[in-house]
């Protein structure tokens, strides 16, 4: 049976086979491996997805699902060829304020979903940095997080119900768009973080949240990492839950200063804290944060003026651009530490940096312990490439050793599947992997869904 012929028979012009179209899909934001798919199918509906999964299953053809192609771990690279299923055309959104949800089709961007909610005085809290192009289906499949994770958690915390298509083409509904329902074991979580290896999420009903009345932003500068750490702990102990609590090391601040020419004072650590709440209360919380920063040897500045808030965020905003403009090769790590161990973790990360001698500006979401050391290297220098890979591994092992995790929000994909074994070993749970693989076999007996990813 000829896959292409079958696909074209069922889906017509939605099937792209010209090299000049499919070569555009050879990689994603991981930008390491390139692989050409057999064909690209542009899905406009659940029915389209179902057809593809039926044909793929019948012909044992690999299927890689792709949204905005913003994966940093290679989740949407078609490493074994096959069909690249592009779900971006299915991008319907429906907001239902009375029932408290937004329905989004797989291809709707995370930012658009948020925007639609805002028209009604609500918002959709998870905000991965790529939210303007990342899609809901992929953000769920990767269990993406974002800056507001400190208070609002990650994608999995917002799902009420899913529609998924499994290999063979069957369409399943998991749960209902209700805040309470009981069907037995929760299979929603099975698909969250499954990275397209079990089926295709085609629709999601997600919780929405009222827009905070007011947000105040506080910038804190510290002469030592330890001071910053103490301030972070004290904020937590005081019972304040910031919307966002970002931490940047000195190398991150320096690189932004050099690249942007912004006037930023010398500092060993910078934190940016957003607190939100009712307008009568929010400044009280913000002042408390300011005092905590001062008490711990830091200098603080706070504002609720949109323009000023932008300025206070400028360093964090500019870091990705500054790093990519300065260095040709960047490996973005995504590790998690228990918040209580953040300072120690940053010290250890500095040691790794000194050992290998490559730049590694480190910043991240201190509110939930999720750090992004950015390993910078020259991709044309084989020695540096090797060093960068070793650093990548060593940072992940450090996280595992300190009771953290090898990935917070970018996923496992291609780049971290071997390391996953190490993490499972560290909690004596290799059985988990065995179980997951058995579940995968039940859903996808022919192993067509995103082969080569996630499972070591």
């Amino acid at each position: 049976m000829d896959v292409i012929k079958e696909l074209k028979g069922e889906l017509g012009e939605k099937v792209l086979t010209e090299p000049e179209d499919i070569y555009a899909y050879v990689t994603d934001a991981s930008n390491v491996l390139r692989q050409v798919p057999l064909a690209v199918v542009r899905a406009y509906s659940t029915e389209d997805v179902s057809k593809v999964l039926r044909i793929a299953n019948e012909t044992s053809t690999p299927v890689v699902v792709r949204g905005g192609g913003t994966s940093l771990t290679g989740a949407s690279v078609p490493v074994k060829g096959g069909i690249l299923l592009d779900v971006t055309p299915m991008d319907g959104i429906e907001v239902n304020v009375d029932d408290g949800w937004v329905m989004a089709e797989a291809g709707a961007t995370v930012a658009k979903v948020d925007q639609e909610c805002r028209k009604y005085g609500y918002f959709f809290p998870p905000d991965p940095a790529s939210s303007r192009y990342a899609t809901i289906g992929a953000a769920l499949a990767e269990n993406a997080g974002g800056l507001r994770g400190a208070k609002y958690g990650v994608m999995k915390n917002w799902v009420l119900s899913l529609e998924v298509v499994i290999p063979g083409g069957e369409v399943l509904r998991i749960g209902k768009p209700l805040y309470k329902w009981r069907w037995g074991p929760d299979l929603i979580s099975l698909f969250i973080g499954s990275e397209g290896t079990l089926g295709v999420i085609t629709k999601a009903w997600l919780r929405i949240y009222p827009l905070p009345e007011k947000v105040v932003r506080i910038l804190g500068l510290f002469n030592s990492l330890e001071d910053a750490g103490r301030a972070i702990f004290e904020i937590r102990r005081s019972g304040i839950l910031p919307t966002m609590l970002e931490l940047l090391d000195d190398e991150s601040v320096n690189i932004v200063r050099e690249q942007s020419g912004l006037d930023i004072p010398e500092t060993e650590a910078m934190i940016i804290v957003d607190v939100d709440g009712p307008k009568e209360a929010v400044w009280r919380l913000a002042n408390q944060v300011t005092e905590i920063i001062g008490r711990n040897g830091g200098k603080a500045e706070a504002s609720d003026d949109p323009e000023e808030m932008k300025r206070l965020y400028a360093v964090r905003q500019g870091i990705y651009a500054a790093v990519t403009r300065t260095y040709k090769g960047v490996l973005i790590e995504d590790v998690v530490f228990p918040v209580s161990k953040l300072v120690e973790a940053l010290r250890e990360i500095k040691k790794i940096k000194e050992k290998y001698g490559l730049p590694m500006p480190t910043f991240g979401h201190a509110g939930d312990g999720n750090l992004h050391p950015n390993i910078c290297y020259d991709p044309d220098d084989p020695e540096q490439v090797k060093k960068a890979e070793e650093m990548f591994r060593e940072v992940a092992l450090l996280a595992i050793r300190m009771g953290g995790s090898l990935s917070g929000e970018h996923g496992i994909g291609l780049t971290k599947k071997e390391l996953l074994v190490e993490e499972l070993k560290s909690v004596n749970s290799l059985g988990y992997l065995k179980l997951v693989k058995e579940i995968k076999r039940v859903l996808d007996p022919k192993g067509i869904m995103n082969p080569g990813k996630l499972y070591p």
Binding site: E20, G68, A321, R325
Partner: protein, 452 residues
């Protein structure tokens, strides 16, 4: 030859007759009839009409007719030389679309009127005015553009032109940003609105319309994003009584595309789709009149509004200013105003055409595939984010082409020609890549190394 017939026709017309339609200098000076503009530069300064405004109505007429009759531009382009030889095209254009064209001719006349009222001194070159040849650059015929630009530069030198005032932001961009890269060129270039805003500030000019009108303004990418001219427009409008400006969501340097940039010729159906997003946004302002400052934008906005049956008038900014000036104009004395020159794009790329492959490889390798550009790419949005006709996809395809992957240059070029060159990708790229210009050089590479 990998260049599609319609681009071939446009470039041959540009080289031979000076404009994309091949109507020639006689048609292009018709607008100036009866104005008695001094021939040749005055103190080195000329008003430059260019090759777009004077014939845009004929282009609009042809564009509308072709799509009404569902004619394919590429097959039409193949028989075009025959029509031209017989002189049929010119006759048809004059007979069918003169009144359509008069709206664009009027913009030029209005601009001249406004400048004169503000006591700006300039001459006009009439048939001697050399067209900018921007189409050659747009379509990636960079070797031709380079040669052409040096001829034009020589002509300006010979005629003693040292300063150009133009209503056409496309020509202004060509002279200001591309000419100095491709040839020796040191003629000063200003857009009409820059001159008008400055003179209005110096004299305190204030005018009022006889009517009250709620307007919205569509910033053309060439004027706002490339030239950084934004404040001047707002200042001029603020000095016209009776005008209420309501900005659309995307405005100033963050403007949205109306679907031109050459796309209207290469892929007209896609151009229309792009315009729809924009006209909807403009209509949402509740304004009854859309102003803009680019002939190609005027055309595509008009087409877009008509296609979606939205009642909205589209007018060149110059025409509204002239209307107010004609009604009542006073001078209140010098005003303290400053206009910022916005810089949101990376510097213009200065690449040698002899090693384009290397350059393109180096720069497209730097692309991180983050997709930030695609979030603002108008064609990606219009095509449900089809990767091969999106900003990031074009970068990936150029990379594959220069790496020697088995791709047809002709078909890659087709994907590259789907771009409107609006520059929002270049503005957004975190790496700082000038994506828009890389695409132009990518076109040039595909043409120069063309394999079918």
């Amino acid at each position: 030859m990998v260049v599609p017939p319609v681009v071939l026709m446009a470039s041959e017309n540009t080289e031979r007759e000076g404009d994309v339609l091949g109507l020639g200098p006689k048609e292009r000076v018709r607008w100036a009839k009866g104005l008695d503009l001094p021939r040749g530069p005055v103190n080195g300064t000329i008003f430059y009409a260019g090759e777009v405004y004077p014939i845009m109505g004929y282009a609009e007429g042809a564009f509308r007719m072709m799509s009404r009759l569902k004619l394919d531009l590429n097959s039409m382009a193949k028989v075009a030389p025959l029509f031209k030889k017989l002189g049929i095209y010119r006759v048809v254009a004059r007979a069918s679309w003169s009144s359509l064209n008069s709206r664009y001719e009027k913009a030029l006349k209005d601009a001249v009127y406004v400048l004169k009222k503000l006591d700006v001194k300039f001459g006009y070159l009439y048939e001697d005015e050399p067209p900018s040849g921007i189409a050659l650059h747009t379509y990636g015929l960079l070797e031709d553009f380079k040669r052409y630009a040096s001829e034009v530069a020589a002509k300006f030198r010979e005629l003693g032109v040292s300063k150009i005032i133009t209503l056409d932001p496309i020509a202004a961009t060509a002279f200001k940003h591309y000419y100095p890269v491709f040839t020796e060129f040191n003629v000063k270039v200003e857009h009409f609105v820059q001159v008008v805003a400055r003179r209005m500030a110096e004299t305190g000019a204030k005018a009022s319309l006889r009517r009250k009108v709620r307007v919205t303004y569509h910033d053309p990418c060439y004027l706002a994003r490339v030239m950084g001219v934004v404040d001047e427009v707002r200042y001029v409008l603020s000095r016209l009584d009776g005008v209420e400006l309501i900005e659309p969501e995307r405005h100033g340097v963050n403007t949205g595309c109306s679907g031109d940039g050459g796309l209207e010729l290469t892929q007209p159906e896609l151009a229309r789709k792009v315009s729809y997003e924009r006209v909807k946004e403009l209509a949402e302002t509740g304004a009854s009149l859309t102003l803009t400052s680019c002939p190609a934008c005027i055309m595509m906005l008009r087409v877009g509004f008509d296609d979606l049956s939205i009642k909205m008038d589209v007018l060149d900014l110059a025409s509204l200013v002239a209307e107010a000036f004609r009604n009542r104009l006073e001078f209140e004395g010098p005003q303290e105003v400053s206009f910022k020159e916005y810089k949101v794009l990376p510097d213009t790329l200065r690449w040698d055409l002899s090693n384009l492959g290397e350059r393109l490889r180096e720069y497209t390798d730097l692309c991180k595939k983050c997709g930030f550009c695609n979030a603002v790419c108008p064609t990606a949005q219009a095509l449900d984010r089809l990767e091969s006709r999106s900003a990031r996809g074009r970068m990936t395809l150029i990379n594959a082409l220069v790496r020697g992957e088995p791709l047809s240059s002709e078909k890659v070029l087709d994907r590259l020609y789907s771009c409107v060159l609006c520059g929002s990708c270049s503005q957004t790229c975190p790496v700082g890549l000038h994506v828009q210009e890389i695409i132009v050089y990518g076109r040039a590479y595909a043409i120069m190394t063309g394999r079918v």
